[in-house]
Symmetry: D2
């Protein structure tokens, strides 16, 4: 069984300081949260950016760049920038969404399917997805392929066959979003079965499902994602004061369950990303 | 086990006469295909309309109304009008999509989720879906809840809990569309498990998967949908010359597998639709 | 998908003429039933013998030999003699059970596990099973590995790894016996998943489960066993007057479901049995 | 979700001091191990007895009685005496196997099916199983129904329907024994699905599978069994010096996974056993 890659999604675009005051806003705060999580054992950080003042979702090149640089300056953590592009107000939003790729992070998320996502429709047309995948290939950026449904996985496997993703593909099973596939064990196993190739996969579960579904994954040989983007509470009524709390708990679980936690170097090897210079 | 409801989807909006010359275009042709299928054993017909001349997808009130009337004039078949609304060019497309409800057919299809659907994105925002469900309730029209993914089913079960669908809800598991959930047995069982309430469900499978997946469903107590909207071939290279061919084969299978085929009255009872006056 | 091997188990040891007057007793009657099934499309016959007068279970060399010869004289059907050995009254019952192997039929059944089997305990100690497997190897007889439980399958896969079974192993999933694993779809899929190697497998289901479970298997790429040993009725209250009736129905199903039925030559090739001289 | 019952099986009949020097032999040693496990958080102890000198498997009334009394004298732990009866040398072994029931422990194990079990055949004819179940009912002893296969579970559910087991039945899924069903997640879910009634169930996994399969069960709402009978090692090459080590680890896991551990009173309530006087 591969060593365990702990992905941490430190802020996302949805959670607010009203919900949890520890949500980072500025690139500096985001980097600090990433580095705390890294010290606790996370090897990959998934990043959305926010307006430093208001905390509302943003998609500015400088914000992404600053967060990336700050993290790289102090760690060997793998950085995964989102291309979800919610809230983009741009002339060419399709092109704008690919902006983070040009910063050449280690990874970029790639949402391959469309779905009703909380209050909105998350639209990812196949043409755009193919184009973004090619852009990542050209820039040496590894896609973290986010799939919320069995059909997304099917579409992604077709992309792999069409050569749009370098080996090995890396999947994130995103479970429990309203209204994506639920974060239950039956669904995780259905995804696992449909993933009929040998490659790394990770799972995230929303809210209270984060803990059980990632624990199942640790035992099944999968990797995990934790953090504020998916979950704000350590337990009922107990807010986490840092993303690091989720990472610490995952490390503790991995230790008891006898699965070694991947270093950043291990994670690069598992994901087929060339070592940091 | 309930008697078997055979749904027939006689034309859809995608298949062309280039692909199969038996595709009906005009309301009269559509009604003729419905009635052929009814004589063969189908109890529910799912209807899209086309431009009578060109055969391109249409969404005109008169076309729906004519098809409905022609079928009702000669049969007790349950009529299910689509609300998918592809190709609508209207000032208020959301309202326009609900037009078929006002004709008070027995059922209307209700697509609850969004997904990449062949070359386009099939967008069904939750607000619209809720609104369409309420409109159906107000008009005494039964929704045939189309779910292409586990998350769609989850969303629909939430709607049932919120009282937006009268008992019993009726589900159509739409499997095998690129890029929805695949039409394989594992997926059918995953859907079946997630449907944790006792209610009628049906399955459709695209192309060559129509035959095996509907056969599994016949054995599992589900209902089935066949017809040109999903499949044009009886077997490799052999085009069906009428939707009735698929219905005949399903009836033959049901007979061998000892599952009684529902009459239109049976179907009304199973679906909780009041008897035809 | 391989062509479909239809196995027919023409009498077993349990069913009586009180239950169904068409149960064959003498080797001649058994051979006649086998040949009727062969003409209908069965390629493999599974044989138990009976006392020709009383019909009670027997295990005499002459009875096996006569049935085998009669079938071979008139057909190219593959013959599978049981080694279950119920009711053996012998000084060395373990050796006696292997007697049918010495007749060099095409196959012999090999029950690898122990279980409560209807009113008795069916005892198959691992030592005996290993010994019987080796004896089959030495005699050029293919084992039809009968597994009634997941643990039996596990034991059998261990035997395959230890080289006690020539490639490809051939499994019979025996479902629905009281008290073996049930003949439902969940169980069939659990067996199918645990069979993690590429090899032919067949399924039998007891009583009314014969028809649905074998139909699922036809669609899943498995082979099937039908016949009086497992089921006496064509439908509720309707006794079959010959094993051929079950075979005819299976052939009809296979035709509709577009799976070609294996000839005896096809079956030999699929099972890795050398062609009949 | 019910609180978690931790069952501990402190010695079994198979493991030897050559394998692990901490294996208890005498009733006093067995009671000491039970009490250590109880202090660590176990609420039920499953007991086999050994010859105090040689450590070989025994089945003497005095040995069971002494262990039972010693545990009861110092704790409120629930005691579960085996009726597996391996190695019984008695005139009436069937009656002898039921001897522990007469001591009126809280529970007795009840093995309902037969199977190849390590080097021997574990024979449990249905007549004996029914008789033992009735004996337990008469003596107010709760059966812990041990099932090693799907068919055993099926047989047990039939017994429940026939009224041979008081509500709620309590199942132990015994996974990973050669040659019972394997201790993998697919199998656990197959058992879970087939258990179509609402009642407490526990799982044990042999050897290195103990840790992952019991962790899955903690998350799934099941109870767990740990201890020397199933597993001697804490991790590869690291022997446990007491059964309490496994219990401590389970308690630690339950804490992280936010499942409360059942006290002995909780366990009595969950299992429908009347409170200790």
């Amino acid at each position: 069984m591969d060593k365990l890659i702990i992905n941490v999604a430190v802020c996302g675009s949805a959670p607010t300081r009203e919900q949890n005051p520890a949500i980072p806003h500025s690139p500096e705060e985001i980097a600090q949260e990433a580095l705390r999580a890294w010290r606790a054992g996370a090897s990959v950080v998934h990043i959305h950016v926010r307006d430093p003042q208001s905390g509302s979702p943003a998609f500015e090149r400088e914000l992404f760049a600053e967060a990336l640089e700050r993290i790289r300056a102090e760690s060997d953590m793998l950085v995964n920038l989102t291309t979800s592009g919610f809230n983009i107000q741009a002339e060419d939003p399709d092109e704008e969404r690919m902006l983070p790729i040009s910063l050449k992070p280690d990874l970029c998320s790639l949402d391959v399917g469309s779905l009703n996502f909380r209050g909105r429709v998350f639209i990812n047309p196949t043409e755009w997805v193919d184009k973004a995948a090619r852009r990542m290939q050209e820039n040496g950026v590894k896609p973290e392929i986010e799939v919320f449904e069995l059909g997304h996985l099917r579409q992604a496997l077709d992309m792999v066959q069409r050569g749009l993703v370098n080996e090995p593909p890396y999947f994130q099973f995103c479970l429990g979003i309203p209204w994506g596939a639920p974060a239950d064990l039956d669904t995780l196993m259905a995804f696992r079965r449909q993933l009929n190739i040998d490659c790394p996969w990770s799972v995230l579960g929303v809210g209270a499902r984060q803990l059980p579904i990632t624990t199942h994954a640790i035992l099944m040989g999968g990797h995990v994602r934790v953090g504020f983007e998916d979950n704000l509470y350590l337990s009922r009524g107990v807010l986490a004061d840092s993303n690091a709390r989720f990472v610490e708990r995952t490390v503790e679980l991995a230790k008891i369950l006898q699965r070694e936690v991947a270093t950043c170097d291990d994670a690069r090897q598992i994901l087929g990303i060339k070592p940091k210079a």
